[in-house]
Symmetry: C2
Subunit: 180 residues, 2 copies
Amino acid sequence: MAKYSREELLETIVETLLERGLGAASLRPLAKAAGTSDRMLLYYFKDKNELLQAAFGALAGRLMAQLESAFPEGTTAPPSELLARLGEITRGADLKPAMRLWIELTAAASRGEEPHGSVGAAILDGFLAWIERRLPADFEGDRPAMAAAILAAVDGAAILDALGREEAATAALHQLAERL
Amino acid sequence: MAKYSREELLETIVETLLERGLGAASLRPLAKAAGTSDRMLLYYFKDKNELLQAAFGALAGRLMAQLESAFPEGTTAPPSELLARLGEITRGADLKPAMRLWIELTAAASRGEEPHGSVGAAILDGFLAWIERRLPADFEGDRPAMAAAILAAVDGAAILDALGREEAATAALHQLAERL
DNA sequence: TCCAATTTGTAGCGACCGCTACGTTATGGC
DNA sequence: GCCATAACGTAGCGGTCGCTACAAATTGGA
């Protein structure tokens, strides 16, 4: 039996990624944090890209689960409330590291790096669909557009946060939520 | 007289940065693109951080000038129009590279890297002030908060764009502008 | 028990990183 | 013309990067 399974490794790697960021995601440090060697990472994953892809997949699953528990499938809310609560959740201590990583992923994707681009787009689509499902059934208007607006607001606030302007982020979310 | 002045070098470096991104910003490639050597970059700039700081300073100036020409000092617009026009401008071919670089800068800043953090925060503050100045003088309500909301919306759209979801970005901006 | 497959360790390759030591060339004030 | 200083070239240091070659250990089935 192996010392660590692929899934156990993935868990620690996701945590290290959340903690230290994508920029620090080189094989040797990741391996060390997981109590193994770069050699073994490349035994379980054919190369670094596959590792990252798997890690982001696991992370997206985790994230979805967290959102799900705060906002179970079937529940809905009007746009303003949806944005307000999503803002609170994503800016909380639990998810702040994930949002930072999300920005890093987006940055890499914007330069056409892979697998960041496709993985990032897939996660984004997932979130858009998730939000859309939580708009009230009787919501009048363009549902995908409203979902996009909510996600953009959350991501925009994340950028203000990332640059240390928490007050501005709070104000922005408040202002936008008020008007949806 | 030197082959290149510090300012000439800075110009080319800014362009290379816009074109290739922060991730590709290592001394030797930057120098090559500028027709010189890493040795000379470190002759004019004491180290890489100083180079980047200077480059981002120059870039911010350039950006401000571009925004200024589209929206001269003294002119104002109601929030919805301000957002709509800022969205168009920042998403245009001219500024798209700058927005990508902006996301990369934010990503680095979110991990506490310097000089990215302080430079990014300064640029952000500059934009917030710039937007606030362009809100109508008789605007009723929290001016800084509205400026933050507009900036967050633009940045959020930039993230959707960066991940290749231009339609969603357009829809989001439209949806948000409609409601400010 | 033996053997083959899985799992792990050790070492190192070639490439790139930021940065520096050191020597040479060019320039402008006197 | 002389000389200090500014400008530049060459070479290389110590480090990290992703990845691989190769061999040793461990395991489980026949």
